[in-house]
């Protein structure tokens, strides 16, 4: 999982980066609040962030505020890193939108445990989003199958009956083609009605449901 660390102190940043990489995280780092804010706005922004409170250009609190103003399907899980551990400061940090805080100097095991909590939350939210999307797809598939199979039934049936009655081979070939294409449509709606997973594939610049994988 990707994680952002924002820390202006070079040594602390290097240490954090090294330890997080050791724990298997894909680390993105920022030297100040402004850089952190920019990285958190990108399309591929990490869902987990460890922000130092005191940073040049923009402090951790301001980054929290701004992130919470954004509409995100999966909200960023923010851990505030702070030398301030007075109750007032903790409250201020959490109210700004942080999910958790760690007082400096921190213990590595505590950091790891708190990041793990964040990871769990992010994974749960991702699973929930996936579930909701699948539900939407299944409902849509149901509507599409229901609405399309009826007219297809009429076209398929009539083309079949027409073929039985016809003698003209030219027309027969065309009707056969109509018949074959409706059967093809029927295979598509059948696949649609078997969708059980949310799987997408790239389509031009966006994504569409990958019917083969979604209905496996």
């Amino acid at each position: 999982m990707r994680i952002l660390i924002a820390e202006d102190d070079f040594t602390s940043r290097r240490l954090l980066k090294a330890v997080l990489a050791k724990w298997g995280y894909d680390v993105v780092s920022a030297r100040d609040g402004h850089e952190a804010w920019e990285k958190l706005q990108s399309v591929e922004a990490p869902k987990l962030a460890v922000l130092d409170w005191m940073m040049p250009k923009m402090d951790g609190i301001e980054v929290c505020y701004r992130i919470r103003q954004m509409e995100k399907t999966i909200p960023t899980y923010i851990i505030l890193l702070t030398a301030r551990d007075g109750k007032k400061d903790i409250v201020r940090g959490l109210e700004a939108g942080a999910d958790d805080y760690i007082a400096k100097p921190f213990d590595n095991n505590e950091l790891r445990a708190r990041i793990n909590v964040g990871r769990r939350i992010v994974e749960l939210q991702a699973a929930l989003v996936e579930k909701e999307k699948l539900q939407g797809v299944i409902e849509m598939a149901g509507a599409v199958c229901h609405e399309l199979n009826q007219p297809m039934q009429v076209i398929l049936g009539l083309s079949e009956l027409f073929l039985d009655d016809l003698d003209d081979n030219h027309i027969k070939d065309d009707i056969k083609e109509i018949n074959a294409q409706v059967k093809r449509l029927g295979r598509i709606t059948k696949k649609l009605s078997g969708v059980t997973k949310y799987k997408t594939k790239d389509y031009l610049t966006s994504k569409i449901i990958d019917l083969d994988k979604a209905a496996e």
Binding site: I138, G142, C145, H146, N149, Q150, P151, M152, Q153, V154, I155, L156, G157, L158, E160, L161, D164, V182, K183, L185, G186, K190, S193, G194
Partner: protein, 128 residues
């Protein structure tokens, strides 16, 4: 040979018309109904033992209709023709007493084979 009658039930007139055409072309007498309630009326008046029921019907659905019919008609052949498969699972259809189950769009050929099968079975059972 005795008259072979089938009942087709579907809430869409275009589908009923097409099924009528298909079955009549093979010599069957076709009765139709646009709802389960209408189907029950038709069956009261006419002696029919082979039927094709759409499952998604206004009012009583096809599964309920089959369940009701089964109680008094253990020997009849009742087929389901369904538009949306996941809505009524195969198990539910078997439980309700359907003999077989077709997905729309289904080829007329398949339905004709099913009808032929049905009448053969009924004939065989009668001879025992």
């Amino acid at each position: 040979m005795a008259e072979k009658k089938v009942l087709v039930v579907d809430d869409e007139v275009a589908i009923l018309k097409m099924f009528k055409k298909a079955f009549s072309s093979k010599g069957y007498t076709v009765r139709s109904a646009e709802s389960a309630e209408e189907a029950l009326e038709v069956l009261k008046q006419d002696s029919i033992h082979v039927m094709f029921l759409d499952l998604n019907l206004p009012g009583m659905n096809g599964v309920e209709l089959c369940r009701q019919l089964r109680e008094k008609r253990p020997i009849d052949i009742i087929y389901a023709v369904t538009g949306y498969t996941s809505l009524f699972e195969l198990a539910e259809c078997r439980g309700a007493g359907f003999d077989d189950y077709f997905h729309k769009p289904v080829e007329v050929k398949e339905l004709l084979n099913a009808a032929q099968d049905a009448f053969e079975k009924i004939e065989r059972w009668k001879k025992r």
